[in-house]
Structure formats: structure tokens, C-alpha cells
């Protein structure tokens, strides 16, 4: 039996930004079925590692391969739609309603807006679909972000502080999304301070300190 | 126009020109030595 190719592989990756070195010489392989928990203090480079995996972060050294594509080459554009990235700041357009936000996202993937409506219902926001994003609480916006994952069903989930600002129901929803992705042969990376909760969800965990993985 | 008057304008022009050039060149020199100093200190 041929072994499945890794979902992502980092080899000697360093990242700098402005006057700070953020990541130093990171080696990391993420295989199908992995749910990787990444822990670390504020400013340790957790978010940056997620952006590297999302092919969004230019790296100073090393090689990055995501879903079989070299993340420094133009190939990255072809795999990006299969990546589901949720940053710690909601990326919704504040003037648009949740339904419009999700509808924009669905249509950018060539999907019908009804997919967006049902995804919003699935995360429990059917009643708030027509509310402007900037009039929604932080938790509701986070939920709407997860609805985006339901719309596109990505194979590689990258979640920054997935449980912050969420109530108990929503936490269960996140766990269900992670489980489903991993069970279907995808992979997930969860960055968090909340060790207890992520440990119960992750198949393995790493610690990041001073830009170095431990 | 008076002869002396013309020379005043010429003087003004050359004073302006060379002041700007010298100031700029000095600023390059100052920035170079400052940068070298910083590189020396921080290494």
C-alpha cells in the first residue's frame, strides 16, 4: 500500500517581519487524519505558522508544501480554495449582512447562495441572517466564519483560537467540523492557549516557543 | 538691467545651487557614517 502524501510539509522554514524574527527553522509534517494542536504564548508565532500553512505568508528560508503544491510557486493558487482558514479576527464585511457575507463567499466558489443560507442555519444563525455583521456580537461573527467552512468543505482546516468567544453549543459545532474533516482524510491545525479543550480534540500537539517548535 | 543687478541674480543662483548640492552630499555622508556606527555597535 502506498502511503498517503502529507497534507502539508514545512522544511527549515523561517519567517521574519519588520524587525522581528517570528519563526526559526521549523520542520513540520501534517498527514491526512492529523488534528494538530499548536500551543504557545502571545507572540510566539502561532498565527504566523497558520498563515504559512495557508500559503499566505512569504517565508525567508525553507520550503513549504501544501496539498501537494509548492507554496512559493504559482501552484499555490490552485490549492487555495481547498484550504479553510479562520483567523482570530473575523474577516466579514461589516456593512453586509451575514447572509450577504456568506453569499459572497459561496458565489466566489461558484456555489449557489442557497448553500450559504443553509450553512448559516447549520451554525444556528438562521435568525440573524439578515443582520449586518457589525451589529452581531463577536461570538456570532465567529459562528458565521465557521459557516464559511461548511460552505466550502475544505480538506485542510486552519483555525486560529477556534474556541474563543464561542458558547458551549458553538464549541461542539467546531469540534464536529474538525472531526468530520479529519475523518474524511483531511487535516486540521488548531492554534490555541486553551490546552485542555484542544488536547481533547487533537491527535497530537506541539509547543511553539521563541519561534521554534518543541 | 543694470550690470551689477545681473550679477546679483547670478550670485543668488549659484549660491542656491551649491548650497543644495553641498547640503545633500553632506547628508549622504552623515547618513553613511551613522549607519556604519550602528552596524558596528549592534554586531
Amino acid at each position: 500500500m502506498i502511503e498517503n502524501p502529507p497534507v502539508a510539509r514545512l522544511d527549515g522554514v523561517s519567517v521574519r517581519a519588520g524587525n522581528v524574527q517570528i519563526l526559526r527553522d521549523i520542520d513540520l509534517t501534517i498527514d491526512p487524519g492529523d488534528a494538530l494542536g499548536v500551543f504557545g504564548a502571545n507572540g510566539a508565532g502561532k498565527t504566523t505558522i497558520l498563515r504559512v500553512l495557508a500559503t499566505l505568508q512569504p517565508t525567508a528560508t525553507g520550503s513549504v508544501e501544501v496539498l501537494g503544491a509548492d507554496a512559493t510557486a504559482d501552484e499555490r493558487f490552485t490549492v487555495r480554495p481547498r484550504i479553510g482558514y479562520i483567523g482570530h479576527v473575523p474577516a466579514l464585511y461589516p456593512e453586509l449582512t451575514l447572509a450577504e457575507n456568506l453569499g459572497f463567499f459561496a458565489r466566489s466558489r461558484g456555489l449557489d447562495e442557497s448553500v450559504a443560507a443553509s450553512a448559516l442555519a447549520d451554525v444556528g444563525l438562521a435568525g440573524a441572517a439578515d443582520r449586518r455583521a457589525d451589529r452581531c456580537s463577536h461570538g456570532m461573527q465567529r459562528r458565521a466564519e465557521f459557516a464559511r467552512i461548511l460552505v466550502s468543505s475544505p480538506v485542510f482546516l486552519l483555525l486560529d483560537e477556534p474556541h474563543s468567544a464561542l458558547d458551549a453549543d458553538a464549541v461542539d459545532l467546531v469540534d464536529a467540523i474538525v472531526h468530520r474533516t479529519v475523518d474524511q482524510g483531511g487535516a486540521a491545525v488548531l492554534v490555541s492557549h486553551d490546552r485542555a479543550r484542544v488536547r481533547s480534540l487533537a491527535t497530537r500537539t506541539v509547543e511553539i516557543e521563541g519561534g521554534i517548535l518543541r | 538691467m543694470e550690470f551689477a543687478d545681473q550679477w546679483n541674480w547670478v550670485f543668488l543662483a549659484y549660491a542656491f545651487c551649491y548650497t543644495v548640492l553641498v547640503t545633500y552630499v553632506v547628508s549622504i555622508a552623515a547618513r553613511i557614517s551613522r549607519s556604519r556606527k550602528r552596524l558596528g555597535e549592534e554586531s
Binding site: 505568508q57 480554495p81 473575523p90 | -
Partner: protein
């Protein structure tokens, strides 16, 4: 994957919807432009023949300077998170560029129409040769929207973006300014406006090419 045109239309629709909710162009930039047209006679005097003469020029200056704010408003207010999601969306950066420019184009056209009306009323403008105006309005709106979107993309999310973009745009919009003013004046003097119109069209084409070529490198730059 959806086609290039639909992608651009999707972006344009998003921007138009956002403007409809925020009303930035309608309730802020437009009144501000109208005030500028009101201020000029207060400063230079209300001599009717003189106002009639300078009116069209003042109109175009106001369109150029205030139009910049219309053409950069969404690109420069975009958050990093929004940029990331847009980059991951798989939308063609060139389509995003055209979509943004398309929305700005429509706002600029409306802006010109309203301010044009205000100018005619306040400055008692003669509308001789006005048939050239729809053409110049369209070309100027296209050029300014392409230029502003491009410049906002170059400056991206720096804190100084809002202040810096007008400085980049203003000198480069001069062919549009001169073309627009002279096309009308040439007609009123009984000459052909063709060279002016062609010059503006060339400017628009150059900007469109530059925008397409730089769209992808700019999207990837943080």
C-alpha cells in the same frame, strides 16, 4: 470556478452593496465636493463672467481631487483578515481589480453628474458643445477609478495609505484633467476634440494594462 466577468461582477456588487449601506460617497464625499464648488466663488469673487469662464475647470479639479477618495475608499479600508480571505478565495486578482474599479466607475459617474449639475447652476455655465460631455465623463470615470484602485493596491494597508494615495494619484491624473477640460474647450472654439479624447483613451488603456499586470504581485504583498 466562475468566469472572469462574473468574478469582477461579484466584487463590484459587493462594493456597491457596501457603499449603499455605508453611504460614504453619497453622504460624505459628494456633499464635500459640492461645498468645494461653493467655496471657490466665495474666495475669488462673484463676478459672473469670470465664474462662467473658470467654472468647467473648477469642476474638473474638484472631480479629480475628490474622485480619488471615491476610487480608493474600499481598497484602502480593507483589513488584513479580509485580504487574506480574498487571497484564499481563488478569485483572479485581475478580476478583483476590475471589479473594484467597476464599482468606483459607477460612483464616479454619479458623482460627476451631480456635481456637473451643481456647477451649471452655481457658475451659470454655457452648455455649448455639451454633447462631448457624456463621453468625457465616462472616460474620466474609467481612468480615475482604474488609477485609484491601482494606487490603493500599491500602498495597501499602511497607516499612511489614506494620506499617501492622493499624492500618488494626483500627478498621474493630469492627462485626464487636461483632456477633459480641453475636449470641451476645443469644441467651443470650433476645433476638433479628437486628439484629447484619444489621449484620454490611451491613458485608460495604459492604466488597465498596468493594473492587470500588477494585480497578482500586489495581492501577495504584505
Amino acid at each position: 470556478m466562475i468566469g472572469f466577468g462574473s468574478q469582477a461582477a461579484l466584487i463590484a456588487r459587493r462594493d456597491i452593496l457596501r457603499e449603499r449601506r455605508s453611504g460614504e460617497v453619497l453622504w460624505v464625499t459628494l456633499p464635500f465636493g459640492a461645498i468645494a464648488l461653493l467655496l471657490v466663488p466665495l474666495a475669488v469673487g462673484t463676478d459672473a463672467p469670470m465664474l462662467r469662464q473658470i467654472g468647467p475647470g473648477i469642476f474638473w479639479v474638484v472631480v479629480m481631487l475628490f474622485g480619488v477618495f471615491i476610487s480608493i475608499r474600499q481598497t484602502s479600508s480593507e483589513t488584513d483578515a479580509q485580504r487574506d480571505q480574498l487571497a484564499l478565495s481563488g478569485l483572479d486578482p485581475a478580476a478583483v481589480y476590475f471589479g473594484r474599479a467597476l464599482a468606483s466607475f459607477l460612483f464616479l459617474l454619479g458623482f460627476q453628474l451631480v456635481l456637473g449639475f451643481v456647477t451649471v447652476v452655481l457658475y451659470d455655465i454655457s452648455l455649448e458643445g455639451w454633447l462631448i460631455l457624456p463621453l468625457t465623463f465616462v472616460i474620466v470615470a474609467a481612468g480615475l477609478s482604474l488609477l485609484g484602485t491601482l494606487a490603493a493596491g500599491i500602498v495597501a494597508t499602511g497607516q499612511n495609505a489614506a494620506a499617501l494615495v492622493p499624492l500618488l494619484v494626483a500627478p498621474l491624473s493630469i492627462p485626464l484633467l487636461i483632456g477633459a477640460t480641453q475636449a470641451l474647450e476645443a469644441l467651443q472654439l470650433g476645433r476638433s476634440s479628437l486628439t484629447w479624447v484619444l489621449m484620454m483613451i490611451v491613458t485608460v488603456i495604459v492604466l488597465a494594462i498596468a493594473g492587470v499586470l500588477s494585480a497578482q504581485p500586489l495581492q501577495e504583498t504584505r
